[in-house]
């Protein structure tokens, strides 16, 4: 028996090195907590994002004329009027709200009073993410590009031709990895963000579940990240969840499968509610996790609590 104890200790070391933790849906979903509508009667909701307090912001890319807000009491209001055709929204660490105005082919930013400043025009922006240090990355779905606008407003192409139809975009919690979903394929791609803000080492890191009738096209769309480093992506099959090593952890059912699922974001108290844009309705669902906030200081993934 003498030799067994040290062997066991060594073996535990080996295990922790080699094997990754399993991350099933049961670590995220709560029994009895389903989807509930938080904003209804819109045409095509999109662009979900949150602020420090957990308020939710979204757009109505087809029918709406404003950026809408759902506050913590559940009240829906127009946050910024006269802002139609927006497909992506994110708060920056500078306290400004960045937006892809798909209809007008512009990327703009709103200050606290709703005053708009144009960052770039004559582009085809779909969705965006803004890092803590002020780099804005946005997808250009029709041209297979990912572009960056740095904190001084200079735009550059940081990926071209890698992702077939780049659409949703998010970061790892430490903001060292950029993840981009492919609307025309079945992968979510991971890139390393270099010190100068450029992208390197693309990898088809996550393989999304696809419909039986269209096995090569997942319709990957909006993305989000949680504090444990899990990635979420809306797809034709539902809201898919991946662990930080790229393994699919499960598919969360779409609230209304008759309508498309195009955007996902954490918001609400403690940023612990998953929200999805699903046609004319935004739904939310309470979870056991919390969203990663990219306007906040980058942090390493939080360890999972012991079962």
């Amino acid at each position: 028996m003498k030799t067994i104890v040290p062997c066991l200790l060594l073996h535990l070391t080996l295990l922790s090195h080699a094997f990754s933790q399993d991350m099933p849906l049961s670590q995220v979903l709560i029994d009895g907590e389903g989807w509930e509508p938080v904003a209804e009667g819109f045409n095509f909701t999109d662009g979900l994002c949150t602020d420090q307090d957990g308020n939710l912001y979204f757009s109505d890319v087809k029918g709406g004329t404003a950026v809408y807000k759902v506050d913590l009491s559940g009240k829906v209001s127009e946050f910024i009027k006269d802002a139609p055709g927006i497909s992506g929204l994110q708060w920056g660490s500078d306290g400004r709200l960045y937006a892809c105005v798909a209809r007008e082919k512009r990327v703009v930013v709103f200050d606290k009073n709703g005053k708009e400043t144009e960052l770039v025009n004559e582009v085809r922006p779909n969705d965006l993410v803004v890092t803590h240090r002020g780099d804005l990355y946005f997808t250009m779905t029709p041209t297979k590009e990912i572009r960056r606008i740095d904190s001084k407003g200079k735009m550059s192409v940081v990926s071209s031709g890698v992702v077939g139809k780049p659409n949703g975009i998010t970061l790892s919690r430490d903001q060292g990895t950029l993840a981009v979903s492919d609307h025309g394929g079945k992968y979510v791609w991971a890139f390393r963000i270099e010190k100068d803000g450029s992208l390197a080492h693309p990898g088809n890191y996550m393989e999304m579940r696809t419909p039986v009738k269209d096995p090569e096209v997942a319709k990957g769309d909006g993305m989000a990240t949680d504090i444990h480093g899990r990635y979420y992506v809306t797809t034709a099959e539902g809201l898919q969840m991946f662990d930080p090593t790229g393994r699919m952890g499960g598919v969360i059912a779409t609230p209304d499968s008759e309508s498309g699922l195009v955007s996902v974001g954490f918001a609400g108290p403690d940023h612990s509610y998953l929200h999805v844009a699903n046609g004319g309705t935004v739904y939310r669902r309470k979870t056991k996790t919390r969203g990663a906030l990219f306007f906040a200081k980058p942090e390493k993934n939080e360890a999972m609590p012991k079962p």
Binding site: F19, G176, R192, G203
Partner: protein
């Protein structure tokens, strides 16, 4: 003698309630007097096939290797765990003992860690590429070995290019990776050793039993080990998946061996029987021409 050791370990495990920790390395995993030790060297590799990844790997060269003729090759996934002196496997010591005894051929061991894309900046975490490299059903890992690692090690040592003289071994995802390499490239690798192999749906690997049953049999020799108390999780059930693999290999007439123990998702059982596993996987070695 071999039978007696097996019998004793079986009784011991039974008597103690068959716990995972009761599996331990045996005498063939201990240094023996008069057995010459091979040399282990550590290296680093930057891959193009897995762009941006870095990894460590180790090369074991037995003292019997003299460069006069090509050596057999055995590749290990999660190399650090196998090459460790005091781990569950202690592969260099086992290889020393078995090569010296003439039970297996003169074999160069290549122990490779999975890749990581290191962070660009301080305070950031690496992108771990292990699951992508090991769990994906494709020829990418085989190409990584054939186009990057084997040519690199081959600069220093004469390695066989006879697929029957090339073995590949791994635990868990490293186990399914071993099978995938041989399944994709039977012209290059024909010996597979899988412990607690993840033939489950991490990235689609649960389909192998079905593929094996409806494919023209490939000329592979496959060793599988698993334990009754192995994982049952979101990806699948490991004991059932390994039984499905074993029965599919049997159905299609493969040269295979399946050892089912009582262990958990650890290398302890696989490590405790590793010397006999090597004797079985290399049992044809006297007839081979590396």
């Amino acid at each position: 003698m071999k039978l007696r050791v097996l019998l004793i370990s079986f009784l011991l495990v039974g008597a103690l309630g068959a716990e995972d920790k009761d599996y331990a390395p045996g005498p063939d995993a201990m240094p023996k007097e008069g057995v010459p030790k091979g040399k282990v060297s550590q290296h680093k590799w930057l891959s193009d096939i897995f762009p941006g990844t870095e990894r460590d790997y180790w090369v074991y060269v037995p003292s019997q290797y003299d460069g006069s003729k090509p050596a057999c090759v055995m590749v290990f996934q999660d190399g650090a765990g196998f090459v460790k002196e005091k781990g569950s496997f202690r592969a260099p010591t086992v290889l020393d003992n078995l090569i010296h005894a003439g039970d297996i051929p003169v074999t160069i061991g290549i122990f490779i860690n999975p890749g990581v894309v290191p962070p660009a900046d301080e305070g950031q975490q690496p992108r771990k590429n292990r699951s992508f490299e090991y769990d994906t059903l494709s020829d990418q890992y085989a190409r990584f070995l054939l186009e990057e690692i084997l040519p690199e090690v081959g600069k220093s040592y004469k390695l066989t290019d006879n697929p029957v003289c090339r073995a590949i071994c791994g635990n868990s995802s490293g186990g399914i990776c071993a099978f995938t390499v041989a399944w994709e490239r039977p012209d290059q690798f024909r010996k597979v050793v899988s412990h607690i192999g993840s033939f489950t749906n991490i990235r689609g690997g649960h389909v192998y039993p079905a593929l094996i049953r409806k494919s023209d049999p490939k000329p592979l020799k496959v060793f599988l080990q698993d334990g009754e108390n192995d994982l049952d999780n979101l990806h699948g059930n490991w004991p059932l998946a390994n039984q499905q693999m074993a029965l599919a290999l049997k159905y299609s007439g493969y040269d295979y061996k399946f050892v089912m123990g009582t262990g958990k998702h650890s290398g302890r059982h696989g490590g405790s029987i590793f010397p006999d596993t090597l004797r079985w996987i290399w049992s044809d070695w006297q007839k081979l021409n590396p």
